[in-house]
Symmetry: C2
């Protein structure tokens, strides 16, 4: 019955009854900082910041015009949404120590399941922004994909509305799919960055690392435009053994790069040719 | 004596005497096509296109308002600059078969030495644009780094002026340094693209590959802004064995990705920790 009444009421109010107007940030790291900033920009109040580290909580509270606490027992119970943005390891402790009745609580982890916070509240969800956050770098939120999940339809709708205020890219996906997206992100972000580190090392000090930037930008644009499978170039896909031999010799003083060179060359060759 | 007169004349003419006003393109692939297009845009005439494949030569000749030939003996002898933009393997044949007296001749290879075209002319050089070229994609030439080289100072100056018409990023580097830059580009372009291919494969068909684009773009921006060494994130740098274990298990149906995951994780961990 409650559901029906509520449904009618929502209809009359054009869905505004469930609008998220106030948020408690649980965590004070890069993700919490960026979320705090974009919420403020969108007119959503940050009422409190919690962190185990009182100084960090205070710092983000100052930035977001909210109060700070380092005590789970003092968490404000009157916000519309509680966003847990802590390291994966810390989620378990919060699940044991934090009790928020039937408040909407989400975590922001790519890998933790929906059930990782099930003891905190009866209405839980996931709000996973697929981006790498750095406190000192600003980001265009409107393009950041946000993956949301909840086992409860109403909570999902509320989360969808909230996410849609921040970005045009909202995806409803389950925990298994999300962890796959997160794993793909490790390749696209962490490993790509390490490849650039090796490239920087090969270039050496004489030339600026920036000399590679237009190439890398075009590489990315092309891969997302025509797909990486079609975009593949280089000596391995051309079956150009002469260049491969010469490049292997040049890497004798770069053992890490050599290891990567050999495996990438073998994998790319295997994909586009019949193998050696 | 000629040199002195020439020097005076150059001074009087503000260097215009040596300006490249006409080009013969030797080759009709991606690099030749892009070079032809930008030369035209900058008011430099393409007088002829040579290709072993007469149809390809004809196609690029049409695009650039020039004539075509598939016969080395018919190459126009009156241009200011001859740009060899062919596959590395084909340079050797050109070096044996093409005779251009004292005309300025350059190749565009990242790996071939300056001496690879030494029999063609007494004035040779290198004009290596550090970019990945696709016929169907347009590029902002003004940012493309161009690496130039010549053993002759006057030719070098002429090439520098020519390159500076096309781009603001002109680098004078020797063949050994250039081949290092080219090798770094293999990591930054070919291997990065293959990582994106693996990421695409892990994401699967349910979600658009584009979901990773904002992340990859920010990864690149951050790496070139603060340097990839400082920009490194992920489970390996955090020494987060729980996530690593879970991700390895998720890759059991992705053997190529698993191979890369293990090696990247080991290399990143070794770099930022003392090793396992």
């Amino acid at each position: 019955v409650v559901k029906v009444i509520h449904g009618k009421y929502r209809f009359l109010c054009s869905g505004n009854m469930n609008e998220i107007k106030s948020v408690v940030l649980i965590g004070s790291g890069n993700v919490a900082t960026h979320l705090g900033k974009i919420c403020l920009e969108k007119g959503i109040k940050i009422v409190q910041v919690y962190s185990l580290n009182a100084d960090h909580a205070q710092l983000l509270a100052q930035k977001t015009g909210s109060t700070a606490t380092d005590n789970l027992q003092h968490i404000n119970q009157a916000a519309d949404l509680y966003i847990i943005a802590v390291k994966d390891d810390a989620i378990q402790e919060l699940n044991a120590g934090l009790k928020l009745g039937n408040k909407i609580v989400v975590h922001t982890s790519g890998t933790a399941g929906l059930n990782a916070i099930q003891d905190i509240s009866s209405r839980t969800g996931v709000f996973y922004p697929l981006q790498t956050f750095t406190k000192t770098r600003s980001l265009a939120w409107e393009n950041i994909p946000v993956c949301i999940e909840s086992s409860e339809q109403e909570t999902l709708t509320i989360l969808k509305d909230f996410a849609a205020k921040l970005t045009s890219q909202v995806f409803e996906i389950d925990s298994a799919t999300r962890s796959r997206v997160h794993l793909a992100a490790v390749f696209a972000n962490n490993f790509t960055n390490y490849l650039l580190d090796r490239a920087n090392n090969i270039i050496g000090e004489e030339l600026p690392f920036n000399i590679l930037k237009p190439l890398v930008q075009e590489t990315i644009e092309k891969a997302f435009d025509i797909g990486p499978e079609k975009a593949q170039t280089g000596p391995a896909v051309r079956d150009d053994m002469k260049t491969i031999d010469a490049q292997i010799r040049k890497l004798e003083n770069h053992p890490e790069a050599l290891e990567l060179y050999l495996i990438f060359t073998a994998l790319i060759h295997k994909k586009y040719h019949k193998g050696w």
